[in-house]
């Protein structure tokens, strides 16, 4: 078995998400290489070479790859991936955008968001908003997989000494162009990596009231999330949405405030170790997954909690 893991990075640092795929690759077993595709990304390649258990780091460094445009990156992954038995990437929005396109170029039926490795060709994955777990077997010669980050621990970022090799191949389709981005700047831990997440829902009432959540989160060193309803209402930006169609989190502690607990929200957080729900409706479905439920008005409970921490 020879496994290619696609690095998640921003051209300057290797993102921890990559390390979850390395662990999934180890569960499959075999030689593991990392492919770094980007622009001016030598530093990322050096970090990838430190990851424990990696044989080789391939680096395709070209201006056309700087913004991870699928039209440019997918053909490269298809080309390099052809020499491997498995191609893996953690299911970030970047990987979800690119990997299926690469798989189609390879004429492979990709498998999305695996949550367990049963054998080299058989995997488990949640379907129907995580209401059931499917076991699926691939008959394709090359397996192209995205990996659910919360289902695999991060491999150690240090301890390895892989060789670094350049990949010369450049693809510039010229079909799309990066125009700009609005990146939420925050000193809080990234949602999918945070040990504690505090999320607010429609019950928060408005965006200003989220300051109560931020204050508690900062005392706990927590990341902040939200339900779809809170994002749709404009209380908070889209990158905070937790759920079936948002981010999947599984922290040690998840605190849901003013969130009813729709299946689409539960799909994104019910693998958390400890769940706390604060809701004024004792019938709210969120209580059925909560280890500790507090039936209370959040406008009194949050200031009390803040004071108690």
């Amino acid at each position: 078995m020879s496994i290619l893991v696609i690095a998640e990075h921003d051209n300057s640092s290797l993102k921890p998400a990559t390390l979850n795929s390395v662990t999934a690759a180890q569960a499959i077993g075999g030689d593991i290489d990392i492919l770094v595709v980007g622009s001016d990304c030598q530093g990322v390649a050096e970090q990838a070479a430190q990851v424990a258990g990696i044989s080789k780091v391939l680096v395709a460094d070209n201006a056309a790859y700087g913004h991870q445009l699928a039209e440019n990156v997918a053909p490269l992954i298809a080309e390099v991936g052809a020499g491997y038995s498995h191609v893996l990437a953690t299911a970030t929005t970047t990987a979800k955008n690119i990997l299926p396109r690469a798989a189609a170029l390879m004429d492979v039926q990709a498998i999305s968001e695996i949550s367990a490795v049963v054998s080299a060709d058989t995997f488990k994955r949640p379907i129907y908003a995580g209401n059931v777990i499917a076991t699926v077997q691939s008959s394709d010669a090359i397996k192209v997989l995205t990996v659910r980050g919360t289902a695999f621990d991060a491999a150690p970022a240090e301890g390895g000494s892989a060789t670094i090799e350049a990949v010369a191949s450049a693809h510039d389709a010229g079909k799309s162009e990066f125009k700009g981005e609005e990146v939420a700047k925050s000193d809080r831990p990234e949602l999918t990596a945070a040990k504690i997440v505090v999320s607010g829902g429609r019950g928060m009432g408005n965006g200003d009231n989220f300051s109560m959540i931020y204050s508690i989160a900062d005392k706990l060193g927590a990341g902040v999330g939200a339900s779809r309803a809170a994002v749709d209402a404009g209380f908070v930006p889209n990158d905070m949405q937790v759920g079936q169609t948002g981010k999947i989190v599984a922290p040690d502690l998840y605190v849901a405030v003013g969130i009813s607990g729709a299946i689409q929200h539960l799909a994104g957080m019910k693998d958390s170790k400890v769940i706390v729900a604060i809701n004024k409706d004792e019938e709210a479905p969120i209580f059925s997954v909560a280890d500790y439920g507090l039936v209370a008005d959040l406008f009194t409970a949050l200031p009390e909690l803040d004071a108690a921490l």
Binding site: I127, E182, E282, G293, L305
Partner: protein, 250 residues
């Protein structure tokens, strides 16, 4: 410009599906079926382009069993001009579906293809990206804003870090995220009118698509159940439990 919208028939989002008793697959007997919510958003976007005079024709396409005609009629009631069903009783994988859609696109030559980012049954999030590969065209997934100007599409995408803006040359594939728009409800007169709009039926064979599956479903199971928790009296008890029982805060 010609706009093609791909719509999938899926289990309604309010239904909590369960495995069949033999664990071979999910139990879909007597379950409410609907148009995939993301596809509904894609249809709405296409119809708005038509209302703005940008789209000259909106074609809704679905791949699946005969019953998908219901969802195509919904798309027609929402404002699509005509529909194409690629009929098959097999449950096709995203790659095979993308191949069927590619054949339809080859015949129709749309300038813009609108799809959902994800079908909420298989949660694959693949078909749009795969179709873009097969058509060798530009793509913008997870769209929350779309504008068309000068033969280009400008798309704001919802990504992990925030928002990203791309400019695409046409033809392009755009897959919808939740906040692209808020779909309208079909009015009764439009539902009646939709019954008379053209709906063509083809088969994968007609389109020359081989749909042999690559991935076999070995079985489905329920996820691990969470232990029932407790209700705490007040904030003080909550903090005490988190510190001393769960030991998740200090």
């Amino acid at each position: 410009m010609k706009v093609l919208v791909a719509v999938k028939r899926v289990v309604d989002y309010n239904v909590k599906v369960r495995p069949k008793s033999d664990g071979s697959d999910v139990d879909l007997a007597n379950v409410k079926m609907s148009i995939n919510p993301f596809c509904e958003i894609a249809v709405e976007e296409a119809v708005r382009l038509a209302e703005k005079g940008i789209a000259t024709e909106v074609i809704a396409v679905s791949v699946g069993a005969k019953q998908c005609q219901e969802q195509l009629r919904t798309a027609l009631a929402l404002g699509a001009d005509r529909a194409i069903l690629v009929e098959t009783d097999e449950s096709l994988e995203p790659l095979a579906i993308a191949k069927c859609l590619k054949a339809v696109c080859d015949a129709e030559s749309p300038d813009l293809i609108l799809m959902g980012k994800q079908a909420i049954d298989g949660d694959n999030n693949q078909t749009g990206q795969m179709l873009a590969a097969l058509l060798d065209c530009s793509q913008a997934t997870f769209a929350s804003e779309l504008s068309l100007d000068d033969g280009k599409a400008t798309v704001v995408r919802e990504v992990d870090g925030g928002l990203q803006t791309l400019e695409l040359s046409l033809p392009a594939i755009v897959t919808s995220d939740l906040r692209l728009n808020e779909p309208r409800y079909a009015s009764l007169p439009n539902i009646m009118k939709a019954k008379r709009k053209p709906l063509d039926v083809k088969t994968p064979d007609d389109l020359g698509v081989s749909a042999a599956p690559r991935v076999t479903l070995l079985g489905v199971e329920l996820p691990a159940e969470r232990q029932a928790g407790i209700k705490v009296e007040d904030v003080a008890m909550l903090v005490d439990k988190l510190k001393n029982e769960a030991k998740v805060i200090s």
